[in-house]
């Protein structure tokens, strides 16, 4: 078992076109670090030095992780993580 992570179109250049990838970790932060080993550059698109990037939405199962514990949100095998770029502008 692992954690399934769904990747949005714009980031699939980093996953060889894969719509979803698998990773492991006890928290979202660890999961992203693990993914970055096989998909270099992915973490930097999701996280900056202040934490989760403002215009990236990350969901654990059906919850926006901003309403959970952000990068510290605990994850475990069998969870589904979905990444979506926020649709926003002025």
């Amino acid at each position: 078992m692992a954690i399934e992570v769904r990747i949005p179109t714009i980031l699939r250049t980093l996953t060889d076109g894969a719509k979803s990838v698998e990773g492991k970790g006890g928290s979202l932060d660890e999961l992203f670090a693990d993914l970055d080993v096989r998909h270099p550059g992915l973490r930097a698109r999701l996280v900056d030095d202040k934490g989760l990037r403002k215009f990236v939405n990350v969901y654990l199962n059906d919850e926006d992780v901003r309403f959970l514990s952000g990068l510290e949100t605990e994850v475990s095998d069998g969870d589904n993580v979905t990444i979506l770029p926020a649709v926003a502008g002025g």
Binding site: I10, D62, D64, V87, G89, G90
Partner: protein
């Protein structure tokens, strides 16, 4: 070029007028790879602002999942400008994240006339495109 049915244009314009002076936003889904917008989905503007829009994150997840399940993609992503022209702002360009989408902008600054324009926004580059409004898809 964006080819779009008149009925869908009318829905976008009606939504933009209804939410004025706040910005309105939404998507038109279509079969993946078809480049044909067919299913209209008005979205909440979580910012409820005359100068900014952002899809509500949970509503976006629900709609994006539905599209995935139906093998659709967001063919059109639209929003309105309520005091300026229908041209992508700096923030529109920096947050554009769907390289396959037609970004439609509507301006409601004039109560009588509507501006309806479409753009591609890829890697920070804006390209305006022709809009062809049709009564129905052939």
């Amino acid at each position: 070029m964006l080819t779009i049915e008149r009925a869908l244009v009318d829905k976008i314009v009606a939504h933009a007028r209804a939410d004025h002076p706040d910005e309105a936003c939404g998507v038109i889904a279509g079969a993946a790879g078809s480049d044909r917008p067919t299913r209209y989905v008005a979205m909440m503007n979580a910012e409820r602002s005359p100068t900014f829009y952002r899809f509500d994150s949970l509503e976006q997840l629900k709609v994006w999942r539905e599209m995935d399940d139906r093998d659709e993609e967001p063919v059109v992503i639209y929003h309105s400008h309520t005091a300026t022209e229908a041209y992508p702002s700096r923030t529109d360009i920096s947050y554009a994240s769907e390289p396959n989408a037609h970004y439609v902008l509507v301006s409601t600054r004039d109560p009588e006339e509507i501006e309806f324009r479409s753009y591609r926004i890829v890697d920070g580059t804006v390209t305006e495109e022709e809009v062809k409004i049709v009564d129905g898809y052939a």
